[in-house]
Symmetry: C2
Subunit: 189 residues, 2 copies
């Protein structure tokens, strides 16, 4: 079974090394790993075309994969990397098994209300909470936006949440390993 | 033809009003609009279950839609709302036509380097640029992460970028109207 390895690791300075670690762990669990960067990017004439070429390769790899494990750790903000989220939605629509992990146990509600609004939140007239700008705040005890948690849960997947040391936020792979174990038990029994 | 109206309008204090405006514009362009909130949420026993119920409804509405128009205006950060991005990926995988707009003409590169890193960026040894934390910065002249721009472009859709007054960032609908016009010309000719 081929597993697509989605996540913001591609932005790390040691991206190749971390992706190689993930690939080795996936192989050890019995999967064939596919990840962004596995195929050569054809020559292009502009930055724009290069971006399109990478997107096309990643979509091709997803179509060739039997499942996805997505690193949904918050990236440059309170939510997961949007490239990874696109890929999660993509695989959900294809009906492929989806697993995810995030290296923070703090809920989306906590990150929105504390990190983004610094606690400046209020009750809305019609119920619920909003930030100082009047925008409502999701409060569903979820790890990120409800479409992410919902898409994973409704397909029988898992969204692992755990705290790791701050310096390992984007590199700790224990949640990834848990996803591999769960997926292997379910799909290769 | 049914169009799914995706975007962070659902978080506005006047969400119902803005979604009604979008629905009216969609109808005027000849489409039948479907949007989050169109179906009643069944009673649930917890916040978590309520989140799952909303996710299930939104997925159902997407499956019933012939195309999507997504508001990808940056939301609580430098990228689009992750719920909307999930939906964009979902509809891309289903092969449905995808259109999007963002109410800023500034590129993802500008927002990452200026808004997120405040200009503290540097050249990487192997080429390209990174932020002060060593994470690489996408520089593909795109409106957001390359999976978003790539997914839209490769399906013949459009990703409209325009500047609007700051106070109308989440409510200006001129980009939405452009998407409706383009979709109507292509799909209802």
């Amino acid at each position: 079974m081929k597993v697509y390895l989605a996540g913001p690791e591609v932005f790390l300075s040691n991206a190749k090394e971390v992706l190689a670690q993930k690939a080795a762990l996936a192989r050890a669990a019995g999967f064939t790993p596919l990840a962004p960067g596995d195929l050569e990017i054809p020559p292009t004439n502009s930055k724009w075309e290069r971006g399109l070429a990478i997107s096309a390769i990643d979509e091709k790899l997803m179509l060739a994969s039997d499942l996805i494990i997505a690193n949904l750790t918050p990236f440059r903000g309170i939510s997961a990397d949007v490239g990874t989220v696109f890929e999660l939605g993509f695989m959900c629509a294809l009906g492929r098994p989806v697993y995810a992990y995030t290296n923070t146990a703090r809920s989306f509600f906590e990150r929105t209300s504390q990190d983004y609004y610094q606690g400046n939140i209020m009750e809305r007239p019609g119920g619920g909470l909003s930030g100082s700008d009047g925008l409502s705040i999701e409060d569903f005890h979820m790890a990120d936006n409800l479409m992410l948690d919902g898409g994973i849960t409704s397909r029988g997947g898992a969204f692992i949440r755990k705290n790791v040391p701050e310096e390992a936020l984007l590199t700790d792979l224990s949640g990834f390993v848990e996803c591999l174990d769960l997926a292997a038990k379910r799909l290769m029994a």
